[in-house]
């Protein structure tokens, strides 16, 4: 089975505020018989901040993580966080195409005393690719216990999963491949798990995550737009696949109510939490109680838990 055993790069967010994403990803992997082996002694990918100090430092940070995956004997590393995923992809692209990035990475790697990562050794995949390519929709359907019972879901992918497109050479390859314009992997998986997917035009709109604290009003306005549009599309739940987006949506949903006086009721869940429950795992097991967005009543009402 493709991707049955992959290196796992959780990243900083999944060890902090994105804890529920970490535990639900691991729980789903276990339920589907997929092995995750965490990268040893990984470092932060630099998120959206280090590139503003210098983009080549971000390349180095990701190159170090990729060299660890290579040393551990893996040719694939899975990152569930869009930021980590994006930065590993970006590093891969820059190391393959930009001499100056190679030079800086080589210099910093030898000073830091580890092997210099060379492009092409390790493939980076997202948690969505991991499940889609290993088990797929058909495999998922045979394992569903209970399913999502027609829960109406808007899938939100955010920015870093598809943009800029040149760092994702495997996307936009026609039928079956992921699209950077209208991504559908999460739609496919959750539909296979029994959800009713609503048409959501803001799949790849921005939540303002980069400035979530430094320009909160902008972020709140952007998130409010995502939430009200999801509600207008008939969604009961917004499914997320990025800890920054997820936390941003939850936090600014609350902030919109407290500061702007605008209340929205759509619930926010990680797609791995939804998949986990469809596979018969308990809500507790996938950390639903850890979310700020209170979805227990809805899930109970719909007979999902």
């Amino acid at each position: 089975m493709k991707h049955q055993r992959v290196a796992y790069y959780p990243g900083c967010a999944l060890e902090g505020t994105g804890h529920a994403y970490n535990r639900s990803t691991k729980a789903v992997g276990k339920a589907l018989g997929l092995d995750l082996v965490e990268l040893k002694n990984w470092n932060c990918c630099g998120a959206m901040e280090v590139k503003n100090v210098d983009p080549k430092l971000q390349t180095y940070l990701s190159a170090r993580n990729l060299s660890i995956a290579e040393d551990m004997g893996f040719d694939t590393v899975m990152a569930p966080c869009n930021g980590c995923y994006h930065n590993l992809k970006k590093a891969e692209y820059d190391l393959a195409n930009d001499e100056a990035s190679r030079e800086v990475t080589g210099r910093l790697s030898s000073k830091a005393g580890h092997k210099t990562y060379e492009a092409g050794k390790v493939e980076t995949i997202h948690a969505l690719d991991w499940i889609k390519d290993s088990v797929g929709e058909e495999g998922l359907k045979t394992r569903i216990k209970g399913g999502l019972k027609g829960l109406k879901i808007a899938n939100y992918y955010g920015c870093m999963y598809t943009r800029p497109r040149h760092i994702f050479p495997e996307k936009d390859k026609g039928p079956g491949s992921e699209s950077t314009y209208k991504p559908h992997y999460m739609d496919d998986l959750l539909a296979a798990a029994g959800a009713e997917i609503v048409e959501y035009p803001l799949k790849t709109a921005c939540c303002g995550g980069a400035h979530t604290l430094s320009d909160s009003d902008t972020s709140t306005r952007l998130v409010l737009n995502l939430l009200t549009t999801a509600e207008a599309c008939g969604a009961e739940v917004i499914a997320t696949e990025c800890p920054t987006c997820h936390t941003g949506l939850e936090m600014h949903q609350m902030r919109a109510e407290k500061v702007f006086g605008q209340k929205t009721t759509v619930k926010i869940l990680y797609f791995t939490q939804l998949l986990g429950m469809a596979l018969g795992l308990s809500a507790r097991k996938v950390g639903v109680h850890e979310n700020m967005s209170e979805s227990q009543d809805l899930l109970y009402e719909r007979g999902i838990v």
Binding site: N43, D54, P55, L57, L108, C159, C206
Partner: protein, 248 residues
């Protein structure tokens, strides 16, 4: 209207005479509105090259002013004055005064990369916004904006230990930007986290504020990164004709 004329129709550049008769014709009021003539002599001919020398700005020369970036822009949809195409134009023409008028807007780019996705000329407008923000700070036109403070707090922790600790980033950021930690929505957020997260994780996060998460054996990487950051700072300042030893 061609965008370089935009600045001409600002209220301060328009003149209207309440009472005016020319050749016996009464043109009082808005009939006599005209645009003050101007002569531009203070082009900054180095501005494009300076911004191109900063990380992200490298490809600004490719721009052919199609406007795809502004059309796709997330922030433009909230505030029409946020206009990457216009700024790229001003930079390339050397209209420094016009650019500096928008010094409190440009940093608001949220790096969603919709512009980069849409750009037919691979200008990397997102990078240009970052380079321009950086340029405005280096040239002393603005103090570092909140986003720059956040970047610095965050990146410093990564450089120091190889990892970050959410709580520390938050506290340092609020302290350095002079904001209260006791805003109603922040209190609600922290309460929410404390009530929800499992005790084990909270203990771990609590301990993390004392024993910060670290990548083992990071010291050599830290020194290598610090050297590189110093080298870059000096190169950026040199490119802008500034004293390389100067304060940030």
């Amino acid at each position: 209207m061609p965008i370089h004329e935009k600045s001409l129709i600002r209220p301060e550049n328009l003149v209207t005479h309440e009472h005016l008769t020319i050749d016996g014709v009464d043109v009082s009021g808005h009939w006599s509105t005209f645009i003050n003539s101007r002569v531009v002599t203070d082009y900054n001919e180095e501005m494009e090259e300076e911004i191109a020398a900063l990380p992200g700005g490298e490809f600004i020369h490719r721009c052919w002013q199609c406007g795809s970036c502004t059309n796709a822009c997330t922030v433009n949809a909230l505030n029409p004055d946020f206009n990457p195409r216009y700024w790229i134009y001003l930079i390339r023409m050397g209209f420094e005064d016009e650019l500096v008028r928008d010094k409190d807007l440009i940093w608001q780019c949220v790096s969603c990369n919709k512009c980069t996705y849409a750009c037919p000329r691979d200008v990397n407008p997102e990078g240009v916004m970052k380079a321009t923000t950086h340029w405005l700070e280096l040239k002393g036109h603005t103090r570092p904006k909140p986003a720059a403070v956040f970047d610095d707090v965050f990146a410093s922790q990564v450089f120091e230990t190889g990892k970050i600790e959410d709580g520390l980033v938050l506290r340092q950021f609020f302290a350095r930007t002079g904001q209260s930690m006791f805003q109603s929505w922040l209190i609600a957020l922290v309460r929410g986290l404390v009530f929800r997260l499992p005790v084990g994780l909270l203990t771990k996060l609590g301990l993390a504020t004392l024993f910060r998460p670290k990548t083992r054996g990071w010291k050599k990487a830290r020194l290598a990164i610090e050297d590189y950051v110093d080298e870059r700072h000096a190169a950026d300042r040199r490119a802008l004709g500034l004293d390389t030893q100067g304060a940030e």
